[in-house]
Amino acid sequence: MQLISLPFFAGFVLSLAIYYLFPAKYRYLLLLAYSGIFIILSTPVAFPFVVISSITVWAAACKRTRTAVVLCIVFNVLLLAVTKYYGFAITNINRLIGIFGAGEGIAMPEIIAPIGISFYTLSMTGYLLDVYWGQTEPCSSLLKTMLYIGYYPQLTSGPVTRFADVSQKLFAGNRPTYENITFGMQRILWGVFKKIVIAERAGMIVNTVYGDVATYNGFFIPFAASLFVVQLYSDFSGCMDIILGVSECYGIVLPENFRAPFLSRSVREFWQRWHITLGEWFRDYIMYPLQKSSPMSSWIIDFRKKTKNKTIRNIPVYICMLAVWLLIGIWHGGAWKYILGMGLWFWSMIFLSEITKPLMSRIKSKLKIDDSSPLFRVLGYIRVFILVAVGNMFFRMSSLTAVFVAVKQTFTHWNPEVLVDGSLLKLGVNGNNMAVLILAVIIMAAVSVLGNKKSVRSRLKETHIAVRWVILLALLWCVVVFGIYGPGYNPADFIYGGF
């Protein structure tokens, strides 16, 4: 079921109405039932996966023993691996077989990945570990565990949640409030705007350029790479806005996944503002346990004792980070392009930034550069944007080879004139639509900046009702008129919808 589709919104409104008509005590059952229906209508194959995973997690959490927790995590990670990474494994095995001439290779089976498995596997693993570490109480109800894992809004594209943060509202049987419903609806509208007004338009240009880098070479490629960052952000954060808005209408507040990521001055800061729940999950459940593990912690202590150089002494920590970033790369998909682009690339940038910090400080001090000056801040934003754009090229392009070809095509053709001679208006988006895109991106950026310190919806609530309604009606008008939707248009899935 598409997130932006009549069936989704019809189902949502209907379930919302029934949810609030149900006795408060049993409202979570309604959510559970509707989540089941949603899963069956989306990818029926996911239903048994969610049920089996829920049963194992519930049993392991109740048991709370090391063996039960480890077995459960291994079992569920195996399910994830089999459904999501079998292709990657078989492709690489076949490559090796080809290299060594050891036969014809393994046939590629067709396995449909259950909806949301990448997200709920992380959430349930976090829950089990929290239970095992005694940070949260196990949920004694199988049905409630099932709802935590299969709650339909977050099943589509996350966020990765923590049981302690969401369970109370999820099972509470919330009362309908004017604020929840209006705030939720506003957020859904904003998400739809980002997706169908911005992301889909930007996607048209990106598809044209990346679909034929031999023709669209030179400056076309950095233009498309920049635009893909816009597309990915408006798509993913738009999707999050819809999910969080839907959930808010039920009175269930899910954790934020974005906090003005392009106001970051370092790649590290960027990842603290982008896909926040994923970053936090890997920090809390992989990075910290790895650092605290006895072999690693003793190595870190030994290494620090032996090394005086402040930069070098943190090498073991960077190695832990490397492991985490490789896992983040793998989580994004079973392909080397993800491991390199979403894992290794960002780790390298953070690593380089950290080890050159003393040097950069000295340079800044010598040149008397005030890095808190507005100019330096903006330069920092631009630098991060460029680094993210390069990493995202791996994410977007079909393979590593395609990335290298695109990079080659960028540097072997000098055609800056295409940026001003109207060529950019021949990439699938004409002048009018380009104007809409630019204006919409400016609005999105402004909202992002405004929302950095205080929620835009809270600001909106403080304005006069006439102003508020004009803004909301204008937003609705823009969505309906400027949105890319309708027959003949195949609504693209959300980019993170396949995870």
Partner: protein, 356 residues
């Protein structure tokens, strides 16, 4: 705020949103470059039970017959519910729609879309010209769309959602880019379903006659089923219907099918008036009166209108309403004055108009 206040506030907001979107789509709706919307809009505004002759069909009706002229010269109160490439299926639903406000003595139904049935008449654009010109809430619009949707699946192999056809927002919102003055309320000139045509196409009348035949040939595709369905509808509703074929240079295959249609309607007690066999009596000149091989220009339309009016009065007892002095016919007189003014204007610009 009290609970009732909140509910009122939400309701008012939603109402405003609906009004805003309705106004937007009123502008963005179907591009009226062939007068489909203005034809239906004007029809809906006609005084109740004022029309005596309702004409239904594709461009062959719109471009061959001038209702204001018919009233001014013969007193025939008529209206053409015509849209470009209108398929024959539409006749049933347009007549049902017409029956909601009118009680015509006679329906004149053109059979071009039946004898020359092709995918052109079932393109999305052709269907939308009918469906999206009708009132959006009309039950016959829904029925027509359902019929078209089923036919798409079974006959023409299109694949589109029923909902997409019912609600054109998905299609029309893209029109924000090509809004022109007409979309913003400046009406196209349309005279009760007639649109002015000043182009001239010259062809040899012998070519036209060469393809005329008295032989019968098979109907293409689903034409027979469609016609029988329509005849059943006419019988069931006790409608007085005259089938017509307008003058033109048709393929032989078309003429063969036309003769078969003539037999079929004849067998059911209806008449098919093939005006292509009355070209000389009408006075049509293929050197000056045609705008292409199958449509007349305004000069030709004037002649066809005069001939058809006389035929209707003689054979179907259509009354001359000019001397009844009723206000309900004033609009026909006004439209005639507008038609004359426009032809005069164009006559000055282009000497080829031979009407009047």
């Amino acid at each position: 705020m009290r609970r009732s206040g909140k509910i009122i506030r939400i309701t008012v907001f939603l109402l405003l949103a609906v009004i805003m979107l309705a106004a937007t789509f009123n502008v963005l709706w179907l591009k009226d470059d062939d007068h489909a919307r203005i034809t239906m809009d004007t029809f809906y505004k006609l005084p109740k039970n004022s029309v005596d002759v309702m004409l239904v069909g594709p461009s062959s009706i719109r471009e061959h017959y001038i209702p204001p002229l018919a009233y001014a010269e013969s007193g025939v109160v008529s209206y053409s519910l015509s849209t470009g490439a209108q398929n024959f299926d539409a006749a049933k639903y347009l007549i049902s729609e017409a029956e909601l406000t009118q009680d015509p003595m006679l329906y004149v139904v053109d059979v071009r879309a039946l004898a020359g049935i092709s995918s052109m008449y079932y393109s999305e654009a052709a269907i939308r010209k009918v469906a999206d010109s009708m009132h959006i809430y009309s039950p016959y619009r829904f029925e027509y769309i359902n019929r078209m949707y089923d036919r798409w699946d079974s006959t023409w192999g299109y694949d589109s959602s029923r909902l997409d056809l019912l609600y054109g927002a998905g299609v029309y919102h893209y029109r924000w880019e090509d809004i022109d003055p007409e979309d913003l309320g400046i009406e196209y000139s349309s005279w009760m379903g007639y649109s002015l045509e000043e182009r001239v196409c010259v062809f040899d009348n012998e070519d036209r006659l060469k393809n005329m035949t008295d032989e019968r040939g098979p109907l293409k595709s689903y034409a027979e089923e469609i016609l029988n369905d329509f005849l059943d509808y006419c019988d069931a509703n006790d409608l007085n219907v005259l089938f017509v074929n307008m003058p033109g240079d048709y393929e032989k295959e078309y003429n063969l099918a036309l003769n078969t249609i003539g037999d079929m309607v004849g067998n059911r007690g209806y008449e098919l008036l093939d005006l292509n066999r009355h070209v000389e009596e009408i006075g049509l000149d293929t050197g000056t009166d045609m705008r292409d091989y199958i449509h007349v220009n305004t000069g030709g339309a004037v002649k066809v209108t005069r001939y058809l009016d006389e035929y209707l009065k003689e054979n179907y007892g259509i009354s001359d309403r000019r001397n009844e002095g009723k206000d309900i016919y004033a609009i026909w007189q006004d439209k005639y004055a507008s038609f004359v003014a426009e032809t005069d204007k164009r006559f000055i610009i282009d000497d080829r108009i031979k009407g009047g």
